[in-house]
């Protein structure tokens, strides 16, 4: 059995001292891992990250995080990462980590992800450099996610994102901003390799549950959606999810995808 605690979008700032820690005292009794799906800070100030790691100091299970868009706002993601890493928190971006828990190997592959939209309403990397950069960033993140998932030889694989991979968990948000909340490219990367769970945040007005086309459960663990400090998940068995058969991107005319 593997027990996962997950949270996102705590947006910690210097005004949040003492708000989270009292609600984490039982987490280590309830979970084997804590995964944080981005937006740990208000504006990406390392001082905000310092406040958060102090709030997390009693959480005596491994903590794995990805950064979110808020953590980039003041252009200091490396400094934020250093604060978190200094407190023993693993920050993933295009890489992975695995743990042996109760005889089961569980791996976490993480990327921030980015936007671009979902089938029927997607952006293309065409035209102005800014537009190509926007979609190109998402394609690059999706490719790194796929590589990170492939690197995991585990009984259970979890994809940890900030941006959404499916539109279902965005329901409640204005449809017009879906392209800024996530991208199908993330789900496609996940389905190509296979995973047991996808966690993301970012969509504060979204919904909690969704699923990829390949059947992988997706959970939006943004705090305003959960309305609690964290969500708890449990894998009772060890069955690994089989990836679905998808055409490889180079076979699709006009596609350029650098997954490897």
């Amino acid at each position: 059995m593997i027990r996962i605690a997950a949270m996102a979008d705590v947006h910690f700032g210097t005004d949040a001292v003492g708000t989270l820690r009292p609600h984490l005292v039982r987490l280590a009794e309830q979970a084997d891992l804590l995964l944080i799906a981005g937006d740990l800070t208000r504006v990406g100030d390392p001082a905000e990250a310092t406040i958060l790691v102090d709030e997390l100091r009693d959480v005596r299970v491994p903590i794995v995080a990805v950064l979110g868009n808020h953590d980039y706002h003041t252009d200091r993601p490396a400094a934020v990462t250093n604060v978190l890493a200094g407190a023993g928190i693993t920050v993933l971006e295009g890489n992975s980590i695995s743990f042996d828990i109760n005889g089961i190997r569980v791996g976490v592959a993480g990327v921030k992800g980015f936007g671009g939209g979902f089938p029927g309403a997607t952006a293309s990397d065409f035209g102005e450099p800014e537009m190509r950069a926007f979609v190109g960033h998402t394609k690059e993140r999706a490719a790194h996610l796929e590589s990170a998932l492939r690197s995991l030889e585990c009984d259970r694989r979890i994809a940890l994102l900030h941006y959404a991979p499916v539109p279902e968990t965005l329901q409640g948000e204005p449809v017009g901003i879906y392209p800024f909340l996530g991208s199908y490219l993330l789900a496609e990367a996940i389905d190509r390799v296979g995973a047991d769970l996808v966690l993301h945040g970012h969509a504060h007005h979204g919904s909690e549950q969704g699923v990829t086309e390949g059947g992988v459960p997706v959970r939006n663990v943004a705090q305003p959606v959960l309305r609690r400090a964290y969500a708890l998940f449990c894998f009772d068995g060890t069955d690994n999810r089989v990836p679905v058969e998808l055409p490889s991107p180079p076979e699709l005319a006009g596609w350029r995808y650098n997954a490897h």
Partner: protein, 87 residues
């Protein structure tokens, strides 16, 4: 040339949202802003009580002739009571 539009609230709403994102006291992107006449209504969840107060202050600073009705909620970090069992 057509008549000048009477209701420019859609523009104003987006300026308020932008101000809430960039105001150093607030830094919140997900506050819902509605404008009804001279009243600005704020809703959604903000991370702290300080930011809740700051959001209303930021709107008052931006639109001193408007009334602010603050319906935002502060994030509540209560412990979970349920576990989702996955296959």
């Amino acid at each position: 040339m057509g008549d000048r539009p009477k209701d420019l609230n859609p523009y104003l709403i987006e300026h308020v949202r932008d101000a809430l994102a960039h105001d150093p006291r607030v830094g919140e992107l997900d506050v819902v802003v509605e404008i009804d006449g001279e009243t600005v209504v704020l809703s959604g969840t903000v991370a702290t009580a300080d930011r809740q107060e700051a959001a209303a202050d930021a709107v008052r600073d931006l639109l001193p002739n408007h009334h602010v009705r603050d319906e935002t909620e502060v994030a509540d970090f209560v412990e979970p009571t349920e576990v989702e069992h996955l296959p």
